[in-house]
Symmetry: C3
């Protein structure tokens, strides 16, 4: 049994939106510390790791640790109906999760079945990254759009003072250089220069839910998975994406 309340339902909607942009189902692990979820996308080349501390909720009552498997796309649809000024209570009942949205003199209750998720994911990739780039949300989204005109893949390259992007396809080639302190790059920490190529569609899904104007951290190592992370209020969302290796 658990009962969790959030005063502004839109915040939970935004958190779930960041998860569902990559995965369609997953298990929320509810513990005294907070709620976490780790899941791989159906193709298995990317994963998401989410954590929100219990202090983000105005009520947080649990008997014991719980694992709640849900169809995240259905959950996301229900949350998309959130109105302004609504609180949200989530609790379990008969192997279902109950979501109660309450506005002034109006109440809306959804029940959704819990499911067995296809595949549980326990741990995150363990990579000793070479470079950490702190970027800003909008310029990164622009960079991905630039590259998508040229190719389905993009190469990221980080060195001490510069973050570079390149793509090449039948219609032409793209090369971008962004220096530290440009409007795109806030900070670079690099023990060595690092370069890897990634699927653009996945990267686009990963940045999609980042709050406007927020910082996004990237960790890169030659031909290894990229790690991307940003905060949504008190919650932290982290994504991993395997590199694309030209065969």
């Amino acid at each position: 049994m658990f009962e969790i309340k959030i005063d502004d339902a839109r915040y939970w909607r935004d958190c779930v939106g960041a998860i569902v942009s990559l995965v369609d189902e997953g298990s929320f692990n509810i513990t005294k510390e907070g709620i976490s979820l780790k899941a791989m996308d159906p193709s298995g080349i990317s994963m998401v790791s989410f954590f929100i501390p219990s202090k983000a909720f105005s009520k947080y009552s649990i008997d014991k640790n719980e694992s709640v498997g849900l169809n995240l796309e259905n959950l996301n649809k229900v949350l998309s109906r959130t109105r302004d000024n609504e609180s949200l209570v989530m609790k379990d009942s008969d192997n279902k999760i109950v979501l109660e949205f309450a506005g002034e003199k109006s109440k809306r209750r959804y029940k959704m079945p819990m499911i067995d998720v296809r595949k549980n994911v326990d741990k995150e990739p363990n990579v000793d990254f070479d470079a950490n780039v702190e970027m800003v949300e909008a310029p990164l989204k622009d960079i991905l759009k630039d590259a998508s005109l040229i190719s389905s893949y993009v190469a990221f390259s980080a060195s001490k003072n510069q973050f570079s992007v390149s793509a090449r396809g039948d219609s032409g080639e793209l090369e971008e250089n962004h220096e530290v302190d440009s409007n795109a790059i806030k900070k670079i920490e690099a023990k060595a220069s690092a370069n890897a190529t990634f699927n653009l569609e996945y990267l686009e899904n990963m940045v999609k839910a980042c709050p406007l104007g927020s910082a996004i951290s990237l960790w890169i190592k030659n031909d290894e998975p990229i790690k991307m992370s940003y905060k949504i209020g008190d919650a932290v969302i982290t994504y991993y994406l395997a590199p694309y290796m030209e065969s």
Copy 2:
């Protein structure tokens, strides 16, 4: 012969928009009192009844009662091209209807053929309703969107102090309760509690043309058609929709 003028063509556009959201053809009956139209949608499970009094027009001249059958979708397209500050004259000529939009130093004239409508509708369903709910436009549209996430059907339930909505489907269940004086409900008059289920797509079409912020009246009786009505200026539009009976 008739010649009818409306000073703001956008008003007539909005009236026809409310009719065409449910039916694709129909006959306008033009009498001294005003213009009325009754028509069923092609599937026969809903009908629309429209009336606008002659006083809504700045010129209203008729020889005798006339019945003008029109393809309402074509009429709606033509009216969608209305600019600001245009007047509209409608008249008949050689079995065609002529629409003359006049702005300053510009004139636009459309001629459309009159048609024989498939099926004339004379009278409205005669139901002794149990409950009348006066709602507000935006919250009702929200309710229909909530339910459409879950199902193609929605159950409405009215009692003395509360209007409830429920839907159930593979992805979950929805239950909403709105009290009198909530932002959704202005008034409920109920001799008995009433409950019936309806096709959501039809309900959505029925509320679509309701002017922003307007009141919408619903009349409900157990497992009988719903009646919905709202005003567009001096005009009144009324819809009926048969209940959905689970087989």
Copy 3:
């Protein structure tokens, strides 16, 4: 070898947008006077003639006259990614064109292959037009939308004091009259009245890129091609479209 710089990259984006709305590839002729392009659309019923003087650029350095054949749709995509406050340098290198967008501390470089265009166009139709109509952009776009409800073709008719438009189809007929000094027509010069019919989709593509609120000039002669022209800053874009002859 050439190297051309424009301080506001968005201006060149708008110029190319006006060309690409009709043709998908073409050769830019770069001379001391400026850059010109003449091309026919793939169907051969319309052509575009573009000219921008060298003074529109902040740097304009060429060795000799050059002809640069490009896939204009790809060029247009690249230019669509222009950010605010970016300058653009265009130069050639190894049979490729290089586009360098430079913002503050960020640089983006595209390389695109030069191509052999299918068909070069040297001269414009030589018609002794009977009427010249000076219109305003928005009302002309409205007129084309009005007509497209009724037909795929529209007839334009110009006389001393009036510009008329007509269209006829299964769903009805349209006739519009716009007098000189209406909000649509600024000036008409007609030696004789002129009337011709054109494909609406082409006309819509021709006006699409006209800057908001700009003047558009039309030249008409009975059953001859229409000429349409407008300015984008210092650049001039001219279109020709063959008349539609009912068979």
